[in-house]
């Protein structure tokens, strides 16, 4: 079994805004494109044009319906990839040391040349964030685009994960979550960012920003509460004649 570092210098990770994610899958495909062409084996697709296509993705978007106690049902789009946990059970379970967490930045990676494809790490991950590539027989997972974020062949502004760079709605943020002053830490503080399944004790680095309350724009009907919007819609007068009278008076003031 493999040891985790005592601590990491930084905690690089993603902050994903569930209030903003429209579920467009841009991050999913951008990730597929970059990581097919870069780190390790290509992300393969089996039965690609057939009855049950099934390929390797390092990032997927799930959609859930939520029924609040009162009001209309809601739909939440939920992108999910490796959360680069501080206490990553996928690393400690690895029999060969192929899975490891980097000391410099906390990124969890698989060294494919040491991976025997046993799949224990995928079983150990409570998030289902690892996928075995069926063509290469090695475990694939989010690398946080370790081959982009330090890449001196890329312009500085592009040194961020492919999913973050491409997200059209700006719902994905990348940074150092160990630094309380970083933009991502500030965002987490402001918006009440949360861990995914904290009860698992994995201490994920990635954070999710919860959706803001929905469907607040209502005038209370039978509740007897004061209608705060009513003054904005006070009728000026009744009937067409009254309206034209008001019009004339108002025009005088223009």
């Amino acid at each position: 079994m493999t040891t985790l570092p005592q601590q990491t210098d930084r905690k690089l990770g993603l902050v994903i805004d569930l209030d903003t994610c429209v579920g467009c899958h841009a991050c999913v495909i951008s990730c597929k494109g970059w990581n097919t062409e870069n780190y390790g084996a290509p992300l393969s697709d089996q039965d690609a044009y057939g009855s049950d296509p099934s390929g390797t993705f390092l990032n997927r978007v799930h959609s859930y319906e939520v029924q609040p106690e009162a009001g209309a049902a809601q739909l939440v789009h939920f992108p999910k990839s490796c959360l680069h946990c501080d206490d990553a059970p996928c690393v400690t379970v690895c029999p060969t040391g192929a899975s490891y967490k980097r000391v410099e930045d906390g990124i969890v990676l698989v060294n494919e040349s040491d991976c025997i494809g046993c799949g224990l790490c995928a079983w150990a991950c409570p998030y289902g964030a690892r996928e075995m590539d069926q063509a290469a027989g090695v475990m694939k997972k989010c690398t946080l685009c370790v081959d982009r974020i330090y890449n001196e062949n890329l312009p500085e502004e592009d040194r961020q994960p492919a999913c973050v760079r491409t997200c059209p709605a700006g719902a994905r943020h990348f940074g150092d979550l160990s630094d309380p002053d970083s933009a991502v830490s500030q965002l987490v503080a402001e918006r009440g960012g949360v861990d995914l399944m904290p009860e698992q004790g994995t201490k994920p680095v990635n954070k999710y920003l919860p959706p803001r309350p929905r469907d607040q724009l209502q005038t209370p009907d039978d509740s007897g509460e004061i209608d705060v919007l009513a003054p904005f819609l006070e009728p000026i007068d009744n009937g067409p004649k009254g309206f034209l009278g008001w019009l004339d008076r108002t025009l005088e003031k223009l």
Binding site: M1, C24, Q218, L251
Partner: protein
């Protein structure tokens, strides 16, 4: 094992070269960086410098590499050798293909050019394809707007000189309340997502009005799950509330709209309802200062919204009087509309209140000085931070035109168009209907058409009718059935050609339009029409030429196939003459160029048209000596001049490449575009970026750019006078008279002020559930299913049913239902969805595929469980017993009324496959590989 880290190359080489071009994975037209390795496409990302997407890219765009390498790509020209529909073809050379086409088309042009019907689908080169069709001389040309969103485009242009998407955008940086109606999620896809992101970052409120809470509606702060087809009623109720409360921008209405324009108010007058005009045709108003009648645009005039004017025994009242009369009545009170709209009355009031609160109580000033067209100087620009966007959801109903009009009237009474925080036009818009061409339809043997096909009518005189009053066009565009059909009616072409109504054609020439499948209503019927034979055993539609890059369902129905390239192998121009990609602060255009050369015997369709045009000797496509004028499309893009100095591309003009907008053709123009990242941007100067229709500085800039030839300030048309001219004709006035069976409908529907009417056609009693489709954000029409990555996201399309219907029918997820309409039935898998209007069911569009198409296996889920709702929708309304063919379209514009569909649902036993089962077509391309795993660089 103790912690150890292997050495890692953190700076691997990304690519050999980046080539910047324009995406074509949908209609958004983002800039892309194509990373090349060893001469091959390796990776695609968004271009940060590009005005449309500013670096971001959607799922489709990033999956472009799989489209470019799709196994469904056509390989070479083909001629049909089996029966139509079978898919049996023989490969031929381009020489032979072009000769066949020439042999078919040359006699038509010589004798009866209208026998060619040339229609293009997702065409992004309409200014070129229409030019070709004009040169040929056929009146029968249009693109796909008639079954897409012509209501939105036309209503916007008639009302305010532009609509949403390509015409304009919300002021994302200043808006505080954004209201989104029924959007098709791939239209303007990245800009809207980017805009929503900006709003969310600022905590601005988003209201989504849509029967289905997915996508953008899922992240809306407030979701209004409206009943389909009632958006217009809801909007008119908002207008009612705002007018009744006086929460409207009277100053804006008086200055910039026709609200003060005087209308003939004498019901006995033959000019009843028409504007009072001076001898130059200028609309007249009463000046509030002098109390005198004056043209609206004179220096210093302050038009009066209230004053009436009497002359010659006729009273003239301002448009605004009529609006008060029409909208203050209780017909539009929230209580009166709530049930039909499926929105509680208090909620309608709450939304109206919020619109008013933000528009007026959060108004702000920008320190931009400007001068209006009346010469008045303004120190600041007033901002009203409320904006709107809408698309096909409200458009594809038989009441869609009036609904879209209502939405624009709502924007205008709030004073939110072309102001900071509101809705802003993108050059070449604003451009009023009067500045657009009128339709032309005069076909003359051996000669070009008398002008552009499509345009804007202003009354009965502009209709495309023959001398005997019959339709001049095969799609019956610009006739009494749908007078303002500015985009044509592509959805009626095959049906009309098959019926010989209004006449028979010889050759149907289609480009990039999957008309035998997802792009048609009633695809089963269309397949029969395309294969139907007459008493001699000849096809009723004698010849079909089709161009497509991929093995679509339509390929099987062509006699001759002209294979197109993929979007990475071609030249294109995204032109200001066509469907622009400008931003509100800048005019912009772009190119595509072959970042890789095709490895198949294919040609860009537009280049093939240059070849075919030359072989046919079409004017404009041959030199004086008869030789071919344009070597290919790139040559056309570079050298064509629409007016002297104005060409397809506005950037890098003139011999030194330094002219902008106007300038001589520059032989190196395309190279300059490539060096510039594939696009060109010219920013609007500060002080000219808002109030554009009335802003002297903007008008002058637009003239310099070649957008106009002279400044053309105008008033927004709350009241669309051309509609009234058609009503007058229906009332019996004028020489050009509608047929009697259409008089009542014209009178009822062509109201010059927006109205709402029930769009549910007669004959649907017993079908009480609305059925809609929407497009997944990761797919574009039928294209996505051939893409190994995208089809893993959306390979299945169950019919989503609201909880109440699931329970009522005893259905559970995975069960099957028989879904019927007055036209037909389908049997499909169902799934429950709670966040849905309780009277509405829906599915993803164009996931269902015919076996044999798109290089998919015959047992692909798209072909076994996937289905099209199209089978339930007829291109005609249910017969009325009068023997007439009534098109299932908006009676004003001819927009296909896809979303008026109503169905009945029953649980049924699971069949082996979704029904109806269509027999397979033979694939013209080799089978796809089973597994995919490649690295271009290795």
């Amino acid at each position: 094992m103790t912690h150890s880290q292997p050495p890692l190359d953190l700076s691997p080489k990304v690519s050999d070269e980046v080539r910047k071009t324009t995406c074509y994975m949908c209609a958004c037209r983002c800039g892309i960086n194509v990373h090349m390795k060893k001469g091959k496409v390796a990776y695609i990302e968004g271009n940060r410098d590009h005005p449309v997407n500013q670096g971001v890219l959607c799922a489709k765009g990033s999956a472009g590499i799989m489209q470019h390498n799709s196994p469904a790509r056509l390989r070479n020209p083909m001629k049909r050798v089996g029966p139509r529909g079978s898919g049996a073809f023989e490969s031929i050379s381009w020489n032979e293909a072009l000769q066949i086409a020439t042999d078919w088309l040359e006699p038509l042009r010589r004798e009866a050019p209208e026998k060619l019907a040339f229609f293009t689908g997702r065409d992004q080169s309409q200014s070129f394809t229409s030019l070709w069709a004009q040169a040929f001389g056929t009146p029968n040309y249009a693109a796909h707007g008639g079954f897409c969103s012509v209501n939105m485009a036309t209503a916007g242009i008639y009302t305010m000189g532009g609509a949403f998407w390509e015409f304009g955008q919300p002021d994302w940086d200043h808006t505080k309340l954004f209201m989104l109606f029924g959007v098709a999620e791939d239209h303007d896809s990245n800009p809207i997502k980017m805009g929503l992101g900006k709003l969310k970052k600022r905590g601005a409120r988003v209201i989504g009005v849509n029967p289905i809470r997915t996508g953008y509606n899922a992240i809306a702060d407030d979701w209004v799950g409206i009943t389909p087809g009632t958006d217009g009623l809801f909007i008119l109720s908002l207008i009612h509330c705002l007018m009744k409360a006086g929460r409207i921008d009277l100053d804006y209405l008086a200055r910039y709209t026709d609200a003060p324009v005087l209308l003939n108010s004498d019901p006995k007058s033959p000019e009843y309802g028409l504007q009072l005009r001076d001898e130059n045709g200028k609309a007249l108003v009463i000046d509030r200062k002098t109390r005198k009648l004056t043209p609206f645009d004179q220096p210093g005039v302050r038009p009066d919204l209230a004053a009436t004017y009497r002359s010659g025994g006729i009273t003239h009242r301002p448009v605004f009087h009529q609006m008060a009369e029409q909208y203050l009545g209780e017909d539009y009170s929230p209580e009166a509309v709530a049930e039909r709209c499926g929105i509680p009355a208090p909620r309608i009031r709450a939304i109206a209140s919020e619109l008013a609160r933000v528009a007026f109580d959060e108004a702000f000033e920008l320190d931009h000085e400007w001068t209006d067209f009346r010469g008045e100087h303004h120190k600041t620009m007033t901002g009203r931070p409320v904006s709107f966007h809408a698309m096909r959801g409200i458009s594809a109903h038989a009441n869609g035109f009036q609904t879209c009009r209502a939405l624009h009237v709502l924007q205008i009474i709030l004073g939110t168009v072309e102001v900071p925080g509101g809705f802003r036009f993108k050059p070449p818009y604003p451009k009023p209907a009067t500045a657009h061409p009128k339709p032309h339809c005069k076909a003359t043997p051996d000669a070009p058409l008398d002008g552009p096909h499509l345009g804007f009518v202003h009354g009965p005189d502009d209709l495309a009718l023959k001398a005997d009053g019959s339709p001049a066009r095969i799609d019956k565009a610009f006739t009494w059935e749908n007078p303002m059909s500015a985009h044509g009616l592509m959805h009626m072409v095959i049906s009309n050609a098959h019926a010989g109504d209004p006449y028979k054609i010889d050759t149907l020439f289609l480009y990039m339009a999957n008309m035998s499948w997802n792009s048609s209503m009633n695809p089963g019927g269309v397949m029969e029409m395309l294969t139907d034979t007459d008493e001699n055993g000849d096809y009723v539609i004698p010849r079909i030429i089709y161009s497509d890059a991929y093995s679509s369902e339509m390929v099987a129905y062509a006699d001759l196939i002209l294979p197109d390239t993929t979007y990475l192998e071609r030249h294109d121009c995204i032109s200001l003459l066509d469907r622009p990609i400008s931003e509100a602060d800048a005019a912009a255009d772009a190119i595509r160029w072959p970042v890789v050369e095709p490895n198949r015997d294919v040609r860009g369709f537009q280049s093939a048209l240059c070849d075919l045009g030359a072989k046919l000797g079409l004017p404009g496509f041959v030199n004086e000596d008869g030789s071919q004028k344009y070597k290919d499309y790139a040559d056309y893009i570079t050298r064509h001049e629409r007016r002297p100095g104005i060409g397809p591309l506005a950037g890098f003009r003139g011999e030194d490449g330094k002219d902008v907008g106007r300038g001589a053709p520059n032989p190196e123009q395309i190279d300059r575009y490539i060096e510039n990242g594939g696009f060109f941007v010219n920013h609007i100067p500060e002080g000219a970026t808002y109030y554009k229709p009335w802003n002297a500085a903007y008008q002058d800039w637009a003239v310099g750019m070649g957008i106009y030839d002279a400044p053309q300030p105008y008033l927004f048309s709350l009241y669309v006078e051309p509609l009234r001219r058609f009503q007058l004709a229906a009332e019996g006035h004028g020489d050009r008279q509608p047929p009697d069976h259409l008089r009542d409908r014209i009178k009822q529907t062509m109201s010059p002020l927006p109205i709402w009417y029930e769009s549910d056609p007669e004959g649907t009693q017993g079908y009480d559930v609305h059925a809609l489709t929407q497009r997944p954000m990761a797919m574009y029409h039928s294209w996505g299913s051939q893409n190994a990555w995208l089809r893993q996201l959306h390979g299945h399309n169950p019919l989503y049913l609201p909880t109440a219907i699931m329970r009522e029918k005893g259905l559970r997820d995975g069960d099957w239902a028989r879904v019927t309409s007055p036209h037909g039935g389908i049997t499909v898998p169902v799934m429950e969805m709670a966040a849905l209007n309780p009277k509405t069911v829906w599915t993803w569009n164009a996931i269902g595929k015919r076996k044999g198409a798109w290089a998919l296996d015959k047992d692909a889920p798209e072909a076994t469980k996937g289905f099209l709702l199209n089978h339930l929708i007829h291109e005609l309304l249910p017969p009325k017993g009068d023997g007439l063919r009534w098109s299932n379209s908006d009676p004003i514009t001819g927009q296909a009324a896809w979303f008026d569909l109503k169905v009945h649902i029953e649980k049924t036993n699971a069949p082996a496959e979704a029904q109806p089962e269509i027999p397979p077509q033979r694939s013209p391309v080799p089978p796809a590989p089973r597994d995919v795993a490649w690295k271009v660089g290795k």
